[in-house]
Amino acid sequence: MNASTSVPIIELRGITKHFRRKPTLAERILMATGRGKAPPVLRAVDGVDLSVARGEVLGLVGESGCGKSTLARIVTGILRPTQGEVVYEQRPVAGLRGKERLDFLLKVQMIFQDPYASLDPRMKVSRIVGEALSVHKLLPKAEIDGAVDQALSEVGLDLAYRERYPHQFSGGQRQRIGIARALAVKPDFLVCDEPVSALDVSIQAQVINLFMDVRARHGLTYLFVSHDLGLVRHISDRVAIMYLGRIVEIGAAASIFAEPAHPYSAALIAAIPSAKRRKRAFEPLKGELPSPLAPPPGCPFHPRCPQAMSVCREIRPALAEISPGRSAACHLHTAPEAA
């Protein structure tokens, strides 16, 4: 499915993440007596296959609640998938232990959405950035200060700030601290979970440019999660579009934006504000994201799809290649006899 040349740095195979509420005491009693039923399962991520090639920027797009952030946390190892496996440099992550697992955790770093909640408020910047280095003894004590300074200057923070606390910084500066923290452990893959959506628009551009500079300098690979299509189009090589826990379309950024194959992608792209199309009316997507507790039967997008056919209500379309390097999960693109 991936036509890009090099070997994947990260591969997701059939990743599924279910969350289940713990039954309350009353429900447990009911279940034990054979009445009542188990609480419903929330399928946050439902069978995702994805591979990210070394050096590329893969944009992951979708509405709030579609499972983007959960997927990001599975990739970084913060959450364990319910089913499926994460493969890092040809090795399944679930089998890694001790030093090897730590290696994976450090090489795949995450940049968080909320620059306020993602820094420990009671630690000084120097401690935040140098923590992993000192706790894991990755560097001798004497060299940690130097490494912290280097990480801070890389993200454009004045070294005079190193003994300050997070609350003394602005959102943009805090996000820089978060990036410095990740860079300090020399990662080669950054998972960015909406890293600029909590920032002022004026600062977003600065931070995005920082991401791109850092990438050029270290040859990093990015999985860039966002709901901002304009941004994703600007920075991504490839784009994956997620809907209700599944990838509905994936392909080169330019081709998806030029000619979306899935009606959902088309609706999202049509909603991007643009100076050229200022006067043109567009058809907004109707309704809301269905509850992942009770996804609709068939294609999960059919209740909102302007092109829904009868087959869409019954059979869930699989992600299939529609042209080289381009896949979509939609009955419009499968052979008519399948319908």
């Binding site: 190892g77 993602s118 910084f169 602005s170």
Partner: protein, 302 residues
């Protein structure tokens, strides 16, 4: 400096240390300020008691039974004036009260520290590990909180006997559960924040996450509540001593002094019970005022 740094105005006082903030809040209200000053004086008197009291009330040789039950202001056989009167053994009430204050404060502070240590550890473990650990710890907490504290303390002391150490033990047993519950609640809130996820992402050991991240970030509210609970620990000690199961007669606390004077109340010798009573009330009220102000300024629900 970048424009974003200029645009972001650091709120005044944002970088003042916690200690300064607390002090400022205490000073900001006359009542609290008065209570804090009073509390400071009482603690100083208690600490300095051996050096400033006119008499050592524990030294039987210094007492003269001839001086028993003198009214406040009367002079004794040795020419010494007893400003708060004497008790039935000729003991100077002022000295006895200062020594009693010392015992009460010592018991209250030690017991609160012990209860805090156990409660914070238990709450932290429950929040971090969840599941079975959480269930066991929290059911014990529910069980402890289900009984009136005085009952637990009475039963314990009735079975292990009296003594300062045993009173402290009883108060710890009564109070740790409330700290455990509060600590668990605030650690659960902190645990959901992204900085904990970041720590997981760095593969930091669980012990490190608990002690370096969770503990410092969730302990604040527990400490504030503890400042109020010192008062209730002292009250509990006084109650137990009054009931005769608390501190030994040789080391009377305020509660025991009140109990000793109780039998003379109706015969008109009010000072033996009333003055220790006033001292106890002042101590408790000032502790509560200061603690309550702290609680309100940190907006903690107890």
């Amino acid at each position: 400096m970048s424009p974003e740094a200029k645009a972001f105005a650091v709120p005044a006082g944002a970088d003042t240390p916690l200690r300064d903030k607390v002090l400022r809040r205490i000073r900001s209200r006359p009542t609290t300020r008065g209570a804090a000053v009073l509390l400071g004086i009482m603690v100083a008197l208690a600490v300095l008691a051996p050096f400033i009291t006119p008499q050592n009330p524990h030294d039987l040789a210094a007492l003269s039974v001839m001086d028993n039950r003198l009214a406040p202001g009367e002079a004794g056989m040795n020419g010494m004036t007893y400003w708060l009167g004497t008790d039935s053994q000729g003991r100077d009430m002022l000295s006895a009260i200062l020594y009693g204050l010392r015992t009460s404060l010592m018991v209250g502070l030690t017991a609160t520290a012990g209860a805090l240590f156990i409660g914070i550890s238990a709450g932290l473990l429950a929040a971090q590990f969840g599941g079975g650990v959480d269930a066991v710890i929290m059911r014990v907490v529910d069980f402890m909180l289900g009984f009136p504290s005085i009952l637990i303390a009475l039963v314990l002391l009735a079975s292990i006997g009296r003594g300062v150490d045993k009173v402290i033990l009883a108060i710890i047993l009564v109070q740790w559960a409330q700290y455990a519950r509060l600590m668990r609640a605030s650690a659960l809130v902190e645990r959901r924040k992204e900085y904990i996820e970041a720590a997981l992402n760095f593969g930091l050991p669980t012990r490190h996450i608990m002690l370096a991240h969770l503990l410092p970030n969730s302990v604040g509210s527990v400490l504030v509540v503890a400042s109020i609970s010192i008062a209730s620990a002292i009250t509990l000690e006084a109650t137990l001593s009054f009931l005769g199961v608390g501190v030994p007669v040789t080391q009377p606390s305020l509660g025991l002094l009140i109990a000793n004077g109780f039998e003379f109340l109706l015969s008109g010798e009010y000072w033996i019970a009333v003055f220790p009573g006033i001292a106890l009330v002042l101590l408790i009220v000032s502790l509560n005022l200061v603690g309550d102000r702290l609680r309100r300024s940190f907006n903690v629900r107890s």
